[in-house]
Amino acid sequence: MTQAALRDPVLAQRLAGEILKMAARPVRLMEFCGGHTHAILRFGIRARLEPKVRLLSGPGCPVCVTATADIDAAIALAHLPGVAVATFGDMLRVPGSRSTLMQARAEGADVRVVYSALDALDLARRELQRQVVMLGIGFETTAPTVAATIREAAAEGVPNYTVFSLHKLTGPAMRAILDAGEVRLDGIIGPGHVTTITGTQAWEFLPEEYGISCAVAGFEPLDILRAVRSLVLAIAEGRPRVTNDYPRSVSREGNRVAQALMAEVFTVESALWRGLGRVPASGLAIGERYAAYDARRRFAEAFAGVLYDAPEPPGCCCGEVLRGVLEPTECPLFRRVCTPAHPVGPCMVSSEGACAAHYHYGGAL
């Protein structure tokens, strides 16, 4: 499938025009996923649809929703002698309460950037004298990939590989936002790659319990407009539903192999989210069967000093941004103090963060 065809500007304009005609009343939609936020700003979709169709950013940036305390714990792990922490690059510059993984590395801690959890497992195989801890960050898209490395390590008996699982589930976060009632939403643009794993069935609670529609979208401009069109149509008809607007990758059942692997390796428990606080049944911890591969259990000493009520960086509004309550541009530090070169909060660090998206592409607004 050609990318150019899905970025056709003439067709995008037409589709946007059609959406605006269809919208019977002004509507507010939230894109859950940070990848969507970037595409929406980069291709000028938000500006094109405003004010009749307002698109709000949601909590779908795994790095951004990682709590300060968990970053502190990761830094503490990296400072343990003989331990190397392997992480996706996005995490390096996210501020903990006192430092970042990058600063920890400058101070001599062993922090390695990996592209895949497979690279971390390879590192463990190569450097048997070291304990390699993979930071498991990500939603349902990433969790099965990390689960796969845990199962592989167990099958092979790799003695020096563990995972610090901070994986989170998207459905409970969406519920938390809706239950809080801070933002009025008429529809949700569903995350395309999370739903590739979970299947559209994971979003059926939205029309059933909350009476709002969800349209699962791909990441090209026409994919996103197609989903917005589905939502506006469902709203105009007064028939809340889930639509699959990314059928080339997404099905109702999702990726069963990945789901089974997650169920085998992880157990669902509450998790701490930046912006949302502790959300029940929203995190994936490593289950009993693979307890030997759980960094929390193997390095309990690193977690002893972590303060779970560590404050957010002063002045940073990431929490409100992640809940869709504030626009990044409404944060007093945005662009003045907080920039991608000197980020105050994670929403400016991550390539999926809303503040970074507004910084890079927001000029069009």
Partner: protein, 95 residues
């Protein structure tokens, strides 16, 4: 981090595949999509294929957009201010 990109599988060996990205080849794991075959497009996320792109659905998506473009063109030509939306509902509705 959640950005996955579609890449073409050029070779498979056990649970690993070689995929092509802008002329560069890289190895990805197929453990999450074991039914993958050479020639398939897979979505790759952090070194793992997470889905096999459905070629038929991809073609239908392009056809749907073409249809929408056509409808919009006709509407512009014939009716300067349409009222009721009556476009296609989009395929793949999951209810």
């Amino acid at each position: 981090m959640c950005l996955a990109v579609p890449l073409r599988v050029v070779a498979i060996e056990g649970t690993m595949a070689e995929v092509e990205m802008g002329g560069v080849r890289r190895r990805v794991s197929l453990v999450l999509v074991p039914e993958t075959q050479v020639g398939d497009y897979v979505l790759v996320h952090t070194g793992f294929a997470i889905s096999r792109l459905d070629e038929e659905e991809a073609q239908e998506t392009l056809a749907l957009f073409e249809e929408m473009a056509q409808a919009a063109r006709e509407e512009e030509d014939e009716r300067p201010s349409p009222t009721a939306p009556d476009g296609p509902d989009g395929e793949g509705t999951s209810g």
